[in-house]
Symmetry: C2
Subunit: 139 residues, 2 copies
């Protein structure tokens, strides 16, 4: 029982609406690769791989200075989780912004000259989790 709160979030995406609960197989498997069955990569990308809170921690902690603009957070997450290239709902950026605001651990700071704002992780809350660390634990 890991208690770091960074496990996979377990919520299946893409067919949660009432109108989609009885999809035909043809509607489920779109663009199956010609090679054969669906790859592990694609299978995994059907799921939100971690909570947004966890993914934002991985993202910000991936940099030396532990701070990042919103735009770069979007970019990093899309680059590191296949889910956001194919399956993510259009609201995923909304969800990231909502998590940044909601959780006290994420703190917005403004650059010395003003203008640019960076998201950081509250010092006393940061356990410096990174995606590499957590992926390692799952082996």
């Amino acid at each position: 029982m890991s208690s770091d709160g960074l496990g996979s979030c377990g919520i299946k995406q893409g067919m949660e609406g009432k109108e989609n609960q009885h999809l035909e197989p043809s509607q489920v498997k779109v663009e199956e690769p010609p090679g054969g069955s669906i790859s592990q990569q694609d299978s995994v990308s059907e799921w939100l791989p971690y909570s947004y809170m966890a993914m934002i921690q991985f993202t910000i902690n991936s940099t030396e200075r532990k701070h990042m603009t919103l735009k770069i957070i979007y970019t990093w997450i899309k680059a590191h989780f296949p889910y956001f290239k194919h399956m993510a709902k259009p609201g995923w950026k909304n969800s990231i912004r909502r998590n940044l605001s909601l959780h006290d651990m994420f703190v917005r700071e403004t650059s010395a000259k003003g203008k640019v704002s960076f998201w950081t992780i509250h010092l006393s809350a940061n356990q410096y989790f990174t995606l590499d660390q957590v992926s390692e634990q799952q082996k």
Copy 2:
């Protein structure tokens, strides 16, 4: 501009689903009173009258000891807001529980003998708003 965060929440209920966006008038006005047009009371009850956070504050602050069990919170809210007699979605109790957990201002305490748990408002956060006070301001 009131800044107490207790204003009406402004979210219209009952036809937000895609499948309900173009209701016929006959579906909108059910059980119109024989007297004529819809009464002010009924009109108001179509709307969530305050945020759940505000309503829970009114509820707990209505008692001398400023604490209340979940069951009584349900009862008080249903008794004081017509919305919860007619229009509320089935998930309204879920929303109350979620708000109690989510907001730090609501604190669960256990009775001396154990067993019963009461919800209270964090002392430093309680502004002792009551429904009467806020209704008065709207006149």
